[in-house]
């Protein structure tokens, strides 16, 4: 027997769970503070200003929510796939393909009322995003091809394809040769409510829908069962291939919807860098939310606070971007690390330790 052994925790009291989380946050702040201090800044100014920079005023809160919207929608998409242990690392590509679908509608279909245009853009985005996830799902379901590598590689194909369009056939004739797709007309831009584009309403509605879908529908239950054990699902007579494909279509469709929201409401055009890393960040947030749709909402808001706070202190305290990134990294390291201690117990075998000393 080893001196240190790791076992899965079964019943951690709620109180202790929160204590560990609080400790992780406190430790991360102390650690980040020390690093900030070493770099010659005052942590007692930097860290509070990071928080107030994200939530301190109405403008800052809007900035935070703007960053949370794509994170929430993408995380929900990732969640549906992960629930089934289908490791969809292809969020980036699905976002880009969704944006491509939405842009096709925005740039080519004229004469529809605004509402219809937007709905059509959403549908196109979800179809293309879903299709991009369907490809690996099909090969996984039929031939057992590993989806992690497959979805990852499809990211680059999507990004390069949009790059090609941006530099080639879709290049705006008004851009004097600069590789840029034309800007959408007003008809194709999501309206605002309370100063923020209505992506926030879409995100909230989706949180509820995905929660209901996973917990209160037959399909949602089947997805969970397939994730827990394919054997069980097979004994229960479930059609595993079909479940895999439906779940990834939903997953890719939601990621595609993020692409539509970003293209329509934020960039108002299509570009190859539009996904902004949300497809990868959403893996962290979905995982940290323990694949729970309601928790996704709060985790993403917390994450957006980190992002906006980091951007804010760069401006207000003129701290280099790298320092802000490092603070975010340290906080993530501790907070994600604490999840390990929540789920596993580290046992130090005292008896054996003592025995050694005697010997």
């Amino acid at each position: 027997m080893n001196i240190i052994s790791i076992s899965k925790r079964e019943d951690l009291p709620q109180k202790k769970e929160w204590l560990i989380r609080a400790l992780a946050v406190a430790l991360s702040i102390v650690c980040a503070g020390l690093v900030i201090r070493i770099l010659g800044y005052n942590p007692l100014q930097v860290i509070p200003s990071m928080v107030s920079g994200a939530v301190g005023t109405e403008i800052r809160l809007q900035q935070t929510i703007l960053k949370a919207i794509p994170l929430v929608v993408t995380s929900l998409g990732i969640l549906v796939a992960f629930k089934m242990k289908f490791w969809n690392i292809g969020g980036e590509g699905q976002i880009i393909m969704g944006a491509l679908g939405a842009s096709y509608v925005a740039l080519n279909i004229e004469g529809l009322p605004k509402f219809a245009t937007l709905i059509l853009m959403m549908i196109a985005a979800m179809i293309l995003g879903g299709f991009w996830a369907f490809i690996p799902a099909f090969f996984k379901a039929k031939m057992g091809v590993n989806e992690t590598i497959f979805t990852l590689m499809l990211n680059y194909i999507a990004i390069k394809f949009v790059t090609y369009l941006q530099y080639g056939p879709w290049k705006s004739p008004d851009s004097q040769g600069f590789p840029k797709v034309a800007t959408f007309s007003n008809n194709a831009i999501l309206p605002k409510l309370f100063g923020i584009h209505i992506g926030w309403i879409i995100a909230l509605v989706l949180v509820v829908l995905v929660h209901l879908f996973i917990n209160h529908t037959k399909k949602g239950y089947e997805i969970t069962v397939v994730g827990e054990s394919q054997e069980t699902a097979r004994y229960a007579g479930m059609n595993i291939s079909q479940i895999i494909i439906v779940a990834t279509l939903i997953s890719g469709g939601l990621c595609g919807l993020t692409g539509m929201i970003q293209a329509s409401a934020v960039e108002k055009t299509l570009s190859a860098t539009l996904s902004g890393g949300y497809g990868f960040t959403a893996i962290i947030t979905a995982w940290f939310a323990r694949l729970n749709a309601i928790a996704v909402l709060f985790v993403c808001i917390a994450f957006a606070i980190l992002l906006q706070g980091g951007a804010y202190i760069q401006i207000s305290m003129q701290i280099p971007a790298s320092v802000a990134d490092m603070i975010q990294g340290i906080i993530l390291f501790f907070v994600l690390g604490s999840e390990f201690f929540l789920q596993y117990r580290v046992n130090i075998n005292r008896k054996r330790l003592n025995a050694k000393e005697v010997a």
Binding site: G177, F178, V266, A311, Q314, I315, A321
Partner: protein
């Protein structure tokens, strides 16, 4: 439970230590006797780091000259690595406005559309954009310069220094601004060396040291012995130095960075435009314009020719420079053919106005471009 208590105590101790050390930095906004209300805050957006040895560093030098000129009357905020996505432009600019910025100055072409939206949303702030073409009547203007003048002069240096008669040009995008630079540099070289040809490699980025370096290396491998670039970093000059060749820079006097290769560089003097313009903005008298500076204005120029450049070359450059400063030296004079064999400027004709020059979509005969 005792374990947790112990950890908490350690944390508390660590926090107190930090409080202890954290004293000194207070009151950093106080400096000087100027009261808060008289200070104008200006926010600058840069596409890369201000230590890139090129474009952004040059922009930041202009910014620092502005800061020095106004003393305590302006407060400078700046953000590095602001990509050309609208979200990045707007987040940074809005955070600056939230920190009291009255003027936002964006310095990369692709920041344009984000700036246009901001100017609409924040009508009581001023927005200035370097290198773009959009503006409005109230609070949004742009500025740029006739860089073809300085490019032409640096082309003369390259044309006289090359031995293989092959020049190499690391270029960003096949976009008008870049094409003007490519063609004017080549015309300068050709004016002193009729046999010269030029190869262009596009990197499809405004600045990326690795891409610039590999483009420079491929140009050197093609036999080009004088390089120049329309890209943000000093990578091409360093690659030329390693290969024992010469380089004409851009944006910055890099005679100390690449002493073995650096000949000269066309450079910007951003402060020459920014200082009077910001003065007008502070006084509330600014009217949006599309400024197009020249060498005669002092907005752009040529970095001092280094000791690698022989006297006769220096004399030739001085001669042409005097004509350009006098304002009677058009750069694009016919007959000119593009590299497809079509006549683009007829004999006896010339591109004289800014609009004529900025409708350029061709690359001249003698230049080979690889996209």
């Amino acid at each position: 439970m005792r374990k947790f208590l112990a950890i908490f105590l350690v944390l508390a101790l660590a926090l107190t230590t930090m409080v202890g050390c954290g004293g000194g930095a207070e009151g950093e906004n106080g400096g000087g006797n100027v009261s808060e209300e008289d200070v104008t805050t200006i926010g600058f957006l840069y596409i890369g780091p201000v230590t890139d040895g090129g474009y952004n560093q040059a922009q930041h030098q202009g910014t620092k000259a502005v800061e020095e000129h106004f003393g305590g009357k302006v407060k400078i905020l700046y953000a590095e690595n602001v990509s050309e996505e609208k979200q990045a432009v707007k987040t940074n600019a809005i955070n600056m406005i939230d920190n009291g910025a009255d003027i936002i100055i964006a310095t990369s072409f692709g920041h344009m559309d984000g700036m246009e939206e901001l100017a609409e949303e924040y009508q009581d702030k001023y927005f200035l954009h370097f290198s773009g073409y959009k503006m409005n009547d109230t609070n949004f203007g742009n500025y740029f310069g006739a860089m073809e003048e300085a490019r032409y002069l640096s082309g003369i240096v390259a044309g006289m220094m090359t031995e293989t008669n092959k020049l190499g040009y690391v270029a960003a995008y096949p976009y008008t601004e870049v094409l003007i630079g490519i063609n004017s540099f080549y015309l300068g070289a050709k004016s002193v060396n009729p046999d010269v040809t030029m190869n262009v490699v596009y990197i499809n980025s405004w600045g990326d040291a690795a891409l610039e370096q590999s483009a420079a290396e491929s140009l050197l491998a093609m036999g080009c012995d004088v390089l120049t670039q329309h890209a943000d970093t000093s990578a091409a000059q360093l690659a030329a130095e390693d290969a024992g060749c010469y380089a004409v820079g851009y944006n910055m006097d890099n005679s100390k960075v690449a002493p073995g290769s650096f000949l000269t560089a066309p450079i910007w003097h951003h402060e020459a435009y920014l200082i009077p313009t910001i003065e007008k903005m502070i006084a509330g008298e600014y009217v949006p314009e599309s400024y197009y500076g020249t060498m005669a204005d002092g907005y752009l120029g040529l970095a001092p020719l280094t000791d690698l450049v022989p006297e006769e070359v220096k004399a030739k450059v001085e001669e042409v420079k005097a004509q350009i400063l006098a304002g009677d030296f058009p750069i694009f004079v016919g007959p000119l053919n593009d590299n497809q064999g079509n006549e683009v400027v007829a004999d006896g004709d010339a591109l004289l106005t800014r609009d004529e020059i900025w409708s350029m979509e061709f690359i001249l005969e003698g230049i080979t471009a690889i996209e």
